[in-house]
């Protein structure tokens, strides 16, 4: 039934109460009254027109952009030359807050081929630590500063290196082993080099290490042509002097027992029976004579051993081989880039690596690639693939791309070098290193199968650098 009254006629809201009538409002028209103000609109000040995109550019002489420059607050003295670099390159090898790991064996000349040490972390003896520091084997990016003392995991490849060392020492005709260590970023290539150096030091070998090949090729050290060479070679005298000082410092114990045995044509007069560490020191002191002295030192080290003068085997290592498998940043006098193999020190290493220059007293030549900020070196990649295929006995060895220029010098230098590929750790090795983390008090979890499997997987299949990062460095 429809309602008796029309719905449309009903008032929607109650009618407003009658406005209080004030005397002053009577004369004003309703449009000029403000709801909440007693001031009239007309008496308000006219708002200044703000410049916007429609007003056009500011007039000449008017400062349009008014931004105050932030004052740089100078606190203290500015860093002295070299101070920041020293901080950047600082190596910390100890963490006093980390626990000392009980029962951790040290690496010694007896146990370098001990298979029972695989999957265990082994300490680096104190004397060797000084030598390793001298040859810059420790890198600032590695996690040495997290643990009580330097120690490294013995993995299968480490044991393999130990066997190489034994092989060289026991071989009849003084063997030379040449390897290039490859692997993805964080897979432990530099640490493997460090372990090789550790073993060489405890075995009484002479260790020559080029810690970062990038320093040789990016054009940051002095260079100069070497006369009577074709194609022209270039000597980096300051770098050579520094290298000599490192060799002398790190191998003092061995070199001080060896004396000069040959005649050398050197620019400075030297004592005929000078010890080799003092010879190296002479070169380290004066960059101008560093390279001839380096050559003399190498000639002495590679002189055939006699009964009176036994020359030890040599470990020659270089980190960042992909930096030397390309053109360097240096320019020749006719403004053409210099190939890295024309730099005398690089060529010296390449000759040793390719086998062009033999090590008559035996030794190992080891190089590792560096994956961080690596320059493109397609020829090296091809050479590595070829080497791997050769060793595996594959029927088809990878061939150079027919339409891309390849660097023949790189291919030649890698012709019969074998490749040692580092993959991720296996579960047992991962467990070994994680137990070490836990024993050092840096990993506060129970190391069981589940945790190892989790971390191993998260580390991309046991990539040791990632494993360390997620277990020890990362704090969530």
């Amino acid at each position: 039934m429809p309602p008796s009254t029309c719905l449309r006629c009903l008032p929607i809201r109650p009618a407003p109460s009658p406005r209080p009538v004030l005397l002053c409002h009577i004369a004003l028209p309703p449009a000029q009254t403000a709801a909440f103000s007693t001031t009239t609109n007309l008496s308000a000040a006219v708002a200044k027109k703000r410049p916007n995109s429609h007003t056009g550019p500011p007039k000449r002489g008017v400062k349009a952009l008014n931004i105050k420059k932030t004052q740089r607050i100078k606190s203290g003295r500015p860093p002295a030359p070299g101070e920041r670099k020293a901080l950047r390159k600082r190596i910390v090898l100890s963490n006093t807050n980390a626990l000392e790991v009980q029962g951790m064996p040290d690496l010694s000349d007896k146990n370098i081929t001990d298979a029972s040490l695989v999957c265990r972390v082994v300490g680096i003896p104190g004397l060797v630590v000084d030598s390793l520091r001298a040859v810059e084997a420790f890198k600032p990016t590695q996690g040495w500063g997290l643990f009580r003392r330097p120690a490294a995991l013995v993995r299968k490849e480490t044991l393999q290196l130990g066997r190489y060392i034994q092989e060289v020492e026991t071989a009849e005709g003084k063997k030379t082993i040449r390897r290039v260590v490859v692997g993805e970023r964080g897979s432990g290539k530099s640490t493997l080099l460090l372990q090789a150096m550790t073993m060489a030091f405890v075995k009484g070998w002479v260790v020559v290490n080029i810690p970062d090949a990038k320093d040789l090729t990016i054009g940051h050290t002095e260079y100069g042509p070497l006369f009577n060479t074709n194609p022209t070679q270039y000597v980096q005298k300051t770098y050579t002097a520094n290298l000599l000082s490192q060799i002398s410092k790190a191998n003092k114990a061995v070199l001080s027992k060896l004396q000069l045995s040959q005649q050398h044509d050197l620019p400075i007069p030297i004592q005929s029976n000078i010890s080799l560490d003092r010879l190296a020191d002479l070169g380290a002191r004066d960059p101008d004579v560093a390279y001839p002295i380096f050559q003399a030192l190498w000639a002495e080290l590679t002189a055939p051993s006699t009964k009176g003068a036994v020359r030890p085997p040599i470990l020659f290592t270089l980190d960042g081989i992909n930096q030397i498998m390309r053109y360097s940043a240096y320019l020749s006098s006719d403004v053409k880039p210099i190939h890295a193999h024309d730099l005398a020190l690089v060529r010296h290493f390449i000759n040793a690596l390719s086998g062009a220059q033999a090590l008559p007293n035996g030794g190992i030549v080891l190089a590792a690639t560096c994956e961080s900020g690596k320059p493109p070196s397609p020829t090296l990649e091809l050479a590595v693939a070829q080497s791997e295929a050769r060793v595996a006995g594959a029927e088809e060895v990878p061939q150079p791309h027919p339409y891309k220029a390849m660097d023949q010098r790189v291919l030649d230098s890698m012709r019969d070098v074998e490749v040692l590929r580092l993959k991720g750790l296996d579960k047992d090795e991962a467990r070994g290193i994680m137990e070490y983390y836990a024993a050092s008090g840096m990993l506060r979890e129970r190391v069981d199968e589940g945790l190892v499997a989790e971390k191993w997987t998260l580390a991309g299949g046991g990539v040791v650098g990632e494993l360390e990062r997620e277990s020890v460095r990362m704090r969530i």
């Binding site: 054009g219 940051h220 260079y223 100069g224 042509p225 240096y330 006719d334 403004v335």
Partner: protein, 117 residues
């Protein structure tokens, strides 16, 4: 302090030759390569031979005041001929047909008969 081409360089200064008027990045690179000076070399680290060679080479080039004078002579020649380019130089206006309604501050600054640099 090391003197190179009559200028006193502090030893810690990079051996950049672009300090000289008329030596740009390319010429500097060429000169440094000719005497085997690497790009981050400090002046103090250069050998005496390198500095004398560099001085000899810089003396052969038309740089600094020689180059300024050469440019002024060229402009003066244009002005004396009474060419359009000479007149525009003398008036401090753009020489190569640019518009003059706006944006001629560079021309006002540089285009003159006794051009400074």
């Amino acid at each position: 302090m090391v003197f190179v081409f009559g200028v006193n360089f502090p030893e810690q200064r990079l051996a950049s030759l672009e300090r000289f008027y008329g030596v740009g990045p390319q010429l500097s690179e060429r000169l440094m390569a000719r005497f085997h000076i690497h790009p981050t070399a400090k002046i103090g680290a250069l050998g005496g031979r390198q500095i004398t060679d560099l001085n000899a080479e810089l003396t052969k080039l038309t740089i600094e005041n020689d180059l300024r004078r050469k440019i002024q002579d060229n402009i003066k020649r244009l002005r004396d001929m009474g060419s359009y380019r000479g007149r525009r130089h003398a008036m401090g206006l753009p020489v190569r047909g640019q518009k003059t309604r706006t944006q001629i501050t560079t021309a006002r600054r540089l285009n003159r008969v006794d051009r400074k640099g």
